[in-house]
């Protein structure tokens, strides 16, 4: 019985730490996303876990709608992801690419060893139209 309790507890602990592990990297969250989080607001109202798990599907769905049907809304737009989750280097005043090492995308993608194909074509930093953190 005692052994069973230990196993259960360690399982719970590992689950808790697994999630905490991702949350710990607040530094790579991105300037605007960090600002939103600091204000206590929630941007991804469908839930962070939904976005974590489903973002490839959401992006694929949106890309077809945008490219083939001309639906250009901000919802699930990759440009929006990049704008919000890019970090500015304080010394150089330049944005880091979101897929650079220890930046937002690669933070998880390295851990799960899933390559990101988006950025062989898409821009990795906010573009000229981005007005900065609101």
């Amino acid at each position: 019985m005692y052994r069973l309790l230990v196993i259960t507890l360690s399982l719970f602990a590992s689950i808790t730490f697994a999630h905490a592990d991702i949350d710990l990297h607040d530094s790579s969250l991105g300037d605007e996303a960090r600002a939103i989080k600091a204000e206590g607001k929630i941007f991804h109202t469908e839930g962070i876990s939904v976005i974590r798990k489903m973002h490839p599907e959401l992006l694929n769905h949106k890309r077809d709608k945008t490219l083939r049907q001309g639906v250009r809304t901000n919802k699930d737009s990759l440009k929006g992801c990049v704008n919000c989750h890019a970090n500015k280097d304080e010394k150089t005043n330049q944005y880091h690419s979101v897929n650079d090492k220890d930046q937002f995308c690669s933070d998880c993608h390295q851990k799960t060893s899933v390559s990101v194909d988006c950025f062989s074509c898409h821009r990795t930093t906010p573009g000229a139209s981005y007005k900065g953190v609101k």
Binding site: K65, R72, T73, K79
Partner: protein
């Protein structure tokens, strides 16, 4: 007053409620749809086209169009590509009438055909035509076989031969895929005109909806002599020329 509801009252109340809800709800739906055109898929009620008057265009105008396209989409600075490998979305072309010796300069880009040969040959459905007539490459699906480049009679398509960085935010481009003039689809969807048309800033190049009888391009095409390049192929191009 008794608490029991008789049949007549029930029917009266239900009908009234349904009718009022229906009235309000239909109003809400209509306003939401009218608010933002970008939320709705494009339809074949429109067909975007361009009319280029070569008599009114100077060579400097054409160079300006090419540069405007480069600035808008970020092509033309491929450092490690040479000669034919370089991207060419729009180029200045000189044509000579052999009989009279008359030389005409014209800008040539994707002609946005109604029946595009590039779409016919694409094995992955990456080369595609939008409902409103704009021909595009879906680079998510493009495998870089370049059949479309061979099929295009205007040689309007280019292939990216090298890794690219710092692309324009509205125009993703990448190695191993084919690209061409998009008729500035990201601007057109916002109600703006393509970069090359805006750069000329005169009636030498007109952009608009070919199907709309009130549009400038529709009315001008009714009045002036215009031609398609390689009209013999029966592709019904969206880009038309007058003065050639």
């Amino acid at each position: 007053m008794s608490n029991t509801l008789n049949r007549r009252d029930f029917i009266k109340t239900t009908t009234a409620t349904t009718a009022s809800v229906a009235t309000i709800a239909s109003g809400i739906t209509l306003t939401t749809f009218a608010a933002k055109a970008n939320e709705n898929p494009v339809t074949n009620e429109k067909r975007w086209g361009m009319l280029i008057d070569t008599n009114k265009l100077t060579e400097a105008n054409i160079d300006g169009m090419v540069n405007a396209c480069k600035n808008e989409h970020g092509w033309g600075s491929e450092a490690r590509s040479t000669g034919d490998q370089k991207s060419n979305w729009i180029r200045k072309l000189k044509v000579k009438d052999k009989a009279t010796g008359k030389v005409t300069s014209l800008p040539l880009m994707c002609q946005h055909c109604e029946e595009p040969p590039c779409v016919d040959v694409c094995p992955t459905n990456a080369s595609m035509k939008r409902e409103d007539g704009i021909v595009l490459v879906d680079r998510h699906l493009c495998i870089g076989c370049r059949y479309c480049m061979m099929a295009c009679p205007y040689e309007a398509r280019s292939f990216v031969h090298e890794d690219l960085t710092n692309q324009k935010e509205d125009m993703p481009r990448g190695k191993g895929t084919v690209e061409s003039c998009t008729l500035c689809v990201h601007k057109v969807d916002k109600g703006e005109t393509p970069a090359c048309v805006a750069s000329v800033n005169s009636d030498a190049v007109i952009f608009g909806d070919l199907y709309d009888p009130k549009s400038n391009i529709n009315q001008t095409l009714k009045k002036v002599q215009s031609a398609q390049i390689r009209a013999d192929l029966d592709l019904n191009t969206g880009v038309r020329y007058s003065g050639i």
